[in-house]
């Protein structure tokens, strides 16, 4: 019985892991062209001695202050224009997340 549940769980996981679900794109499938690029990476040599080059890391002393910036009236108006739905003065998402 335990084996059955484990199998079922693995099955569910693989269902969750499919790229169409991960990408939120109906019927999406991996592309052969892109897979050929990934094959090159898989067979490339990994340098195990190399120290990570933290090229784009921001220093802790250089973080910007955490502050709330009020949007201008025009900015607020354009955001509302872009937003698909409004209800009682609130911008709303499509539907409440049901599942």
């Amino acid at each position: 019985m335990e084996g059955f549940f484990l199998n079922q769980k693995l099955k569910d996981m693989s269902k969750i892991m499919t790229v169409d679900i991960l990408s939120s794109i109906k019927g999406a499938k991996p592309s052969d062209s892109v897979n050929q690029l990934f094959d090159v990476i898989k067979s490339a040599n990994k340098n195990t001695t190399l120290n990570t080059v933290l090229a784009n890391v921001v220093s802790l002393d250089d973080l910007r202050p955490d502050e709330v910036v009020e949007s201008s009236a025009i900015e607020k108006q354009i955001i509302k224009e872009n937003f698909p739905r409004e209800k009682n003065g609130f911008l709303v998402v499509a539907k409440v997340i049901e599942d």
């Binding site: 892991m17 790229v19 169409d20 991960l22 990408s23 939120s24 794109i25 109906k26 019927g27 999406a28 499938k29 991996p30 592309s31 062209s33 892109v34 050929q36 690029l37 990934f38 090159v40 990476i41 898989k42 490339a44 990994k46 340098n47 190399l50 990570t52 080059v53 090229a55 784009n56 921001v58 250089d62 973080l63 910007r64 949007s71 025009i74 900015e75 354009i78 955001i79 224009e81 872009n82 698909p84 998402v93 499509a94 539907k95 409440v96 997340i97 049901e98 599942d99």
Partner: protein, 445 residues
């Protein structure tokens, strides 16, 4: 005002599909103000009244900012990108939002809802991409300069295909705030223009640290004295030139350029480098992973045109399936593949490791040479329609530009040396040296 009107008239014809939207009203109003200043005898700045174009991935408040996509076809920018704001503050006048590959996904400017951009020199050929519309507008004199975006070559390659200048500065020199993110770790803002001096002026105006982009840094302005090149040694990557993928014409012309440089007493050194397929695969693996993450917000609820489905998840996936182009979907799916559990170690993290190796190699190489030269592309521009049939061939055509993007290095296309130009690269933050050497090459080629 007459200059702005003249350029607007050219852009209205839109003969090469380079225009997504015109900013006629605001442009004419701004031009009128400049005229008034001149009439009143007031001093005007270097860029004041100069008409320019903007790739349609930059925020400019109140303008449609579509990324050439169905998803954002009706999206209006609520704010203005830092780089663009700096140009506005200097008095430059934006005329046009320019066609490009959707979200920067492409090397031909065919992947767009506004029609494939036609090459400025031969309209049967592609304009290159992704900043194809920007390059064509500059080449056809519809704008004095245009602002492109370069993630893996998207400024340099179309500049080469349309025989103009295109500069990708050192990563972080210009703020990315307000540039729609494709692959944040290599996205760069840069100018496309018809002279090195124009590139220099626009670069200086846009550069600088911006608290809204934590990767931006303080930089010194590139001086007007571009004559004084101190370059003693130039390198080139042997395997870029000695392979079957490069066209014979570009190979011959590139080697002839090296000879002319040698004749001026500059040492030329052949360097070993990573194979082109490693560079391209590393770049695309990381760029796809980053774009899958960056574009996840485009779901018809947070952003974009929504198509209703049976439930929220269905709404997300129908919206994205219908509104993303095939190339964008290919990259988002590829990105999610490499980021998913079980694949990230084997592909994504390994690509990160390769990127670090590539960066380390650049650091070593620039101890030996001051400048690295390469062709911009292995071949001349393909005909419109060809690239869409063969995505892998399109990815591989970026072989000479993506490596420098991974290294965050400054790189400039000049329209000389080969039929698609020469790419000049220097070490990080040595943008001035690149422009100086470009000036020198201009004199000898």
């Amino acid at each position: 005002m007459s200059l702005v009107q003249e350029k607007l008239n050219l852009l209205k014809q839109n003969t090469h599909n380079s225009v997504n939207s015109l900013l006629e009203g605001t442009a004419l109003a701004a031009a009128k103000k400049v005229d008034a200043k001149i009439e009143n005898g007031q001093e005007i700045g270097l860029l004041e009244g100069i008409p320019f174009g903007i790739k349609d991935v930059y925020m400019l408040q109140g303008t449609y900012t579509t990324a050439s996509s169905d998803l954002l076809k009706k999206y209006k920018a609520a704010y203005t990108a830092t780089a663009i704001q700096k140009l506005l503050d200097a008095g430059a006048i934006p005329l046009v939002k320019e066609n490009c590959d959707s979200f920067g996904h492409g090397s031909s400017s065919e992947n767009t809802i506004f029609g494939a951009v036609k090459n400025a020199i031969n309209p049967d050929l592609v304009a290159g991409g992704s900043s194809g519309g920007s390059a064509v507008n500059v080449a056809k004199d519809c704008t004095i300069f245009s602002i492109g975006g370069d993630t893996g070559g998207s400024i340099r390659q179309p500049a080469g295909y349309n025989k103009i200048y295109g500069f990708k500065p050192t990563y972080g020199r210009i703020s990315r705030y307000g540039l729609m993110a494709y692959a944040s770790s290599t996205d760069c803002v840069g100018p496309i223009a018809k002279s090195i001096e124009d590139v220099r002026i626009v670069l200086n105006v846009m550069s600088g640290k911006d608290p809204r982009d934590q990767t931006s840094y303080v930089s010194e302005a590139v001086s007007t004295d571009l004559k004084a090149t101190q370059i003693k040694t130039v390198g080139y990557y042997k395997n870029f030139i000695e392979n079957n993928a490069i066209s014979t014409e570009i190979q011959t012309d590139f080697l002839a350029t090296l000879e002319k440089i040698k004749a001026k007493g500059i040492a030329v050194k052949a360097l070993d480098f990573f194979d082109a397929d490693i560079l391209v695969s590393t770049y695309y693996t990381l760029a796809m992973a980053e774009t899958a993450s960056n574009l996840s917000r485009l779901d018809g609820t947070n952003y974009g045109a929504r198509i209703e489905g049976a439930n929220l998840k269905d709404t997300y996936s129908i919206t994205r399936s219908e509104n993303f182009s095939e190339e964008t979907k290919r990259r988002v799916v590829g990105g999610n593949q490499v980021l998913s559990q079980g694949f990230s170690d084997e592909i994504y993290l390994k690509a990160q490791n390769l990127r670090n190796q590539i960066s380390a190699r650049f650091t070593e190489d620039f101890k030996d040479v001051d400048i690295v030269l390469s062709p911009v592309t292995p071949a001349s521009p393909p005909e419109i329609g060809e690239s869409l049939q063969d995505p892998l061939a399109m990815y591989l055509s970026d072989a000479y530009t993506v490596g420098f993007s991974l290294g965050g290095l400054p790189a400039l296309t000049i329209p000389k040396g080969t039929s698609t130009g020469i790419q000049i690269t220097a070490d990080k933050k040595k943008d001035a040296e690149v422009l100086q050497f470009a000036n020198f090459l201009n004199e000898i080629l």
